[in-house]
């Protein structure tokens, strides 16, 4: 496929956005304009009506500073509310139309050619950072099998791109890579690469891949460590890219799977029920200027390498420096270069896992907040497509809206303490505004529920549709309690970002480990609960009516500790049929395959804890094959004499005093040196018991008594059924 004419022209390198080349499946300029005019006119109308009612409500007794502040804050908040409302409404209209959307990309690939070989090679990249090794590799196995079933596996290569700095995880990743390749006979199709220095985190990891192997492939499908995609969708995505050479990035909608906690299941359910409607609405008005979410997406590699390398931002980290949320910026750069960025509206085939608890959600949001706040630099940069600016703005406002909401509530409290709302006209405007606001918040949910009741889009049996209604009522209750807590934390994150507090890169917890630590929720949410309590006392003295008005927010804050604890529970009401998703009830084969293999590994007897925690390290030193694998994968470097002596000292210390006597960096230095690792293997087996630390004595004993084959311990040995698609 050749690139569009405009893209090969020098204009692509210029300061302005290159127009899209009209092509099948691409929205034309007129189409895009009409859709955006419609959408933003509705949003504008809703915001103006809300603003006018607010103005009328605040008008009595003159405009004091706090009233002006409230009005100023209200407008952007109401704008965002309207964006959500109209996106959902348009989405509902789109998914209920008898014909598919005119810009639906699936229309561009002919069904009769579904078995034709693909004309392009695609790299599936899985960046990992100290992840659960079993989950990552079993996910890859499921995708691999699913692709095999399509008959197109030969057009795909897998790359596990590790930035893990936990030595134990690193060795487990290596051993699992070898075992998976052996089991699937996939040497030369699944590759493993470990970076010594994780420069620029995930975006640096991907750039490193592009620099090393990017030229070998026409497309790159970017996964997260917990992503799962069906072979059929992967093949369809490549076909769509082949048919639409003007398409730079195609983003799928990853549905959440695998939740095991109450909150996880509620969020998973909410996303399954409301998500497709919002995605259809987003696709309507974003058109060829959609966003990239960093994973479960396919990228055209040549323009990505040419135009999407990220420069550092001015000023120092955290607000400047390396761009953390790289995906939005890459989408904007791709679009600027004249390539479309599209959302693929599909109901199945793309999956990811969500955070299990409120605390994990907040930890993830802390990183995302910093990344999005950094985009402030780019908001006024030259040459962006206007929609890219809007995407940046919406990203910033995802978090910026929280301090605005908090500010609105504080000013509202001040107003209540001074004069409140007086007069019939003002009260009527207030009531009308409340009605509109409730409608904007809840009407999309109600309509989506009605749609589900009538069409059975998620579930055909009527009993399940009724259960969906109950689940939706409960999730509304959960999200209502959750929103004020998120407001407080997002506000804190925004201010931390502004004052320059950075965020460390930590592995994302995707599963809840047994035994919830109660101290963590108390320490995390204690302050929020106290804020809620103090605010409630203040509101009580201001006026009882005001206390009632603000009570949903304050009750949620006061209950934040028990809320966090209860929602972390693994009692998820699944047996009652609540919060069910189609993926839970009837998992598609790729998910069923993953689940079966994970269960097999989970059911295995565990080793003693200290060995289990350092399983990779123990095997790399003790086991001749894992040791051989690790040394084979290391790059040989010349090291000066003094560092040889130092490494020998560290090796001796590790054997004599145990691995805990070394810092993470020291351990890493030893394990990066091929000679040291080889020497350690023989040294350990040659040493007398009294020369070894207790850890190694136990390890040798355990190794000979109960230790399983290190290559088998982390991966399933189950044969995969033939029907994984």
């Amino acid at each position: 496929m050749s690139a569009p004419a405009a893209i090969t022209s020098p204009a692509a390198l210029g300061p302005r956005t290159v127009p899209l080349v009209p092509h099948a499946g691409m929205p034309s300029a007129v189409q895009s304009r009409m859709r955006r005019v419609t959408f933003f006119s509705l949003v504008f109308l809703g915001t103006v009506i809300g603003g006018w009612l607010m103005f009328l409500m605040l008008q009595p007794n003159g405009f004091t500073w706090y009233k002006i502040g409230m009005l100023a804050i209200f407008l952007p908040l109401y704008y965002l509310l309207n964006v959500g409302f109209w996106t959902a409404l348009i989405g509902l209209w789109i998914i209920n139309r008898p014909k598919p959307d005119a810009i639906d990309l699936f229309r561009t690939i002919a069904r009769e050619n579904a078995n034709d070989p693909l004309g392009a090679t695609t790299a599936i990249t899985v960046p990992v950072y100290n992840e659960d090794v079993t989950r990552v590799y079993e996910g890859i196995r499921a995708i691999y099998h699913s692709l095999e079933q399509t008959g197109q596996i030969k057009h795909f290569d897998f790359f596990i791109l590790s930035d893990s700095d936990d030595t134990n995880k690193w060795i487990e990743e290596e051993a699992s890579w070898l075992e998976l390749c052996r089991q699937l006979n996939a040497f030369g199709r699944i590759f493993y690469r470990k970076r010594r220095k994780p420069i620029n985190r995930k975006s640096g990891n991907m750039s490193d891949f592009c620099r090393r192997w990017g030229k070998r492939y026409r497309y790159m499908i970017v996964m997260d460590a917990d992503s799962v995609m069906s072979g059929k969708l992967l093949v369809d995505m490549v076909r769509i890219m082949e048919k639409n050479p003007g398409l730079g990035i195609l983003q799928t909608f990853p549905k959440q799977i695998g939740a095991e906690t109450f909150l996880g299941r509620v969020m998973q359910f909410g996303q399954a029920l409301y998500g497709p409607t919002f995605i259809a609405g987003l696709n309507y008005w974003q058109g060829g200027e959609a966003n990239f979410w960093g994973h479960n997406a396919i990228l055209r590699l040549a323009p990505f390498i040419e135009y999407c390398a990220l420069p550092p931002l001015p000023a120092k980290v955290p607000f400047g420096g390396h761009i953390m949320s790289h995906d939005f910026v890459e989408a904007a750069l791709m679009r600027k270069a004249g390539y479309a960025v599209r959302l693929l509206v599909s109901s199945a085939g793309s999956y990811e896992e969500g955070p299990p608890t409120l605390i994990d959600t907040l930890k993830r949001d802390r990183r995302w907040c910093l990344g999005n706040m950094q985009h402030f630099w780019l908001l006024f940069a030259k040459g962006w497509h206007p929609m890219s600016r809007i995407n940046f703005f919406h990203g910033i406002m995802c978090y910026g809206s929280s301090p605005l909401w908090l500010g609105f509530l504080i000013l509202g409290t001040i107003m209540a303490a001074h004069d409140g709302i007086t007069g019939a006209k003002s009260t009527f405007a207030g009531e009308l505004l409340l009605g509109f606001t409730v409608m904007f918040i809840f009407m999309p949910k109600v309509l989506i529920l009605l749609d589900e009741l009538v069409t059975g889009r998620m579930f055909q049996p009527f009993r399940l549709r009724i259960l969906t209604v109950f689940s939706s009522l409960l999730d509304t209750f959960v999200f209502t309690l959750m929103a004020p807590i998120m407001m407080i934390f997002h506000t804190r994150f925004v201010f931390n970002t502004i004052i320059g507090k950075s965020v460390s890169w930590v592995a994302q917890r995707r599963k809840l480990h047994p035994g919830l630590d109660w101290r963590e929720p108390i320490l995390t949410f204690g302050t929020s609960a106290l804020i809620g309590l103090a605010w409630a006392v203040l509101a009580f003295f201001i006026s009882h009516q005001f206390l009632i008005w603000i009570s949903p927010v304050l009750v949620a804050l006061m209950l934040s500790v028990p809320f966090a604890i209860l929602t972390s529970s693994t009692r998820t009401f699944q047996r009652l049929g609540l919060f069910l998703t189609p993926e839970e009830l009837n998992p598609v084969p790729v998910l069923q395959s993953l689940r079966d293999h994970m269960n097999e590994v989970k059911d295995r007897p565990k080793l003693p804890q200290e060995i289990e925690q350092r399983f990779g390290l123990v095997q790399a030193i003790l086991d001749p094959y894992v040791n051989g694998l690790h040394v084979s994968l290391l790059r040989r470097r010349k090291s000066p004499h003094h560092s040889r002596e130092y490494l020998a000292y560290l090796s001796h210390k590790m054997l004599a005093q145990g691995p805990d006597s070394l810092t993470g960096r020291e351990l890493s230095a030893v394990m990066y040196d091929p000679d040291s690792v080889t020497h350690l293997h023989y040294q350990l087996w040659s040493s007398l018991e009294e020369q070894l630390a207790t850890f190694w004595r136990v390890a040798i004993r355990q190794y000979n008594l109960v230790a399983p084959n290190p290559f088998f311990h982390l991966l399933s040995q189950r044969k995969t059924p033939e029907t994984v698609v």
């Binding site: 390198l13 300061p15 008008q59 003159g62 405009f63 002006i68 290569d157 790359f159 070898l178 052996r182 040497f187 030369g188 590759f191 493993y192 690469r193 750039s207 592009c210 620099r211 090393r212 192997w213 990017g214 030229k215 390498i305 135009y307 390398a309 420069p311 550092p312 001015p314 400047g320 402030f376 630099w377 780019l378 908001l379 006024f380 940069a381 030259k382 040459g383 003790l622 001749p624 094959y625 040791n627 051989g628 694998l629 040394v631 084979s632 994968l633 040989r636 091929p674 000679d675 080889t678 023989y682 087996w685 040659s686 040493s687 007398l688 040798i700 190794y703 000979n704 084959n709 290559f711």
Partner: protein, 197 residues
């Protein structure tokens, strides 16, 4: 049965030390997943015989250390024959060789030929040689150079404020005063207008 009737009578070291060496060697060869016990015993006894000779020459090292050292030497020589001509360094030879034996399922397919330099089945050698793996395909290096993004007014303000001189600061101070003035004017106008309604 000649091979198993090795006379083992070390001239140096105590019985306890040699028993310990035996136990360690047994563990070590078990770690190669050599499930054939007869072959394992043969290899252990041959290794101990060599270790005993080495211990006579250097009794400062323990019999266990000599035993593992001899095992390493035997493995090295065996792998050296298999990978002849492949230009591997010593540590590459050991690492890739061990890995190759595992990948071609050597412990199950050719347990009787483990560390046996006299008998190298051709299919085993070929399988082990072809099992030398790399973890990634051949590099095809591309340049991925970031292009500067013209950040517009925000970037200018930041650059002038953090890196520029005083005039820039004054300029933006004036700009801020103008904006504050406009906002104040809007405030007074709206207040007046609202009051007149």
């Amino acid at each position: 049965m000649d091979a198993v009737t090795i006379h083992f009578a070390p001239k140096t070291g105590t019985e306890e030390e040699w028993n310990e060496a035996y136990a360690r060697l047994a563990d070590y060869f078990r770690s190669y997943r050599l499930h054939n016990r007869i072959r394992r015993t043969q290899v252990i006894l041959e290794t101990l015989r060599r270790a005993a000779e080495a211990h006579e020459k250097d009794s400062a090292k323990s019999p266990t250390a000599h035993a593992i050292g001899q095992a390493r030497l035997m493995l090295h020589d065996w792998l050296g024959d298999i990978y002849k001509g492949m230009e591997l360094t010593d540590s590459q030879l050991e690492a890739s060789g061990r890995l190759g034996f595992h990948l071609c399922d050597g412990p199950n397919r050719w347990p009787h030929f483990f560390i046996d330099r006299e008998n190298l089945p051709v299919d085993m050698s070929e399988a082990m040689r072809s099992a030398v793996r790399t973890s990634g395909p051949r590099l095809q290096v591309s340049k991925m150079t970031p292009r500067p993004i013209d950040l517009g007014i925000i970037g200018d303000v930041a650059e002038d404020t953090f890196e520029g001189g005083r005039p820039a600061l004054v300029r933006y101070l004036i700009l801020l005063i103008v904006i504050a003035g406009v906002l104040t004017a809007i405030y007074w106008l709206t207040t007046y207008w609202v009051a007149s309604l």
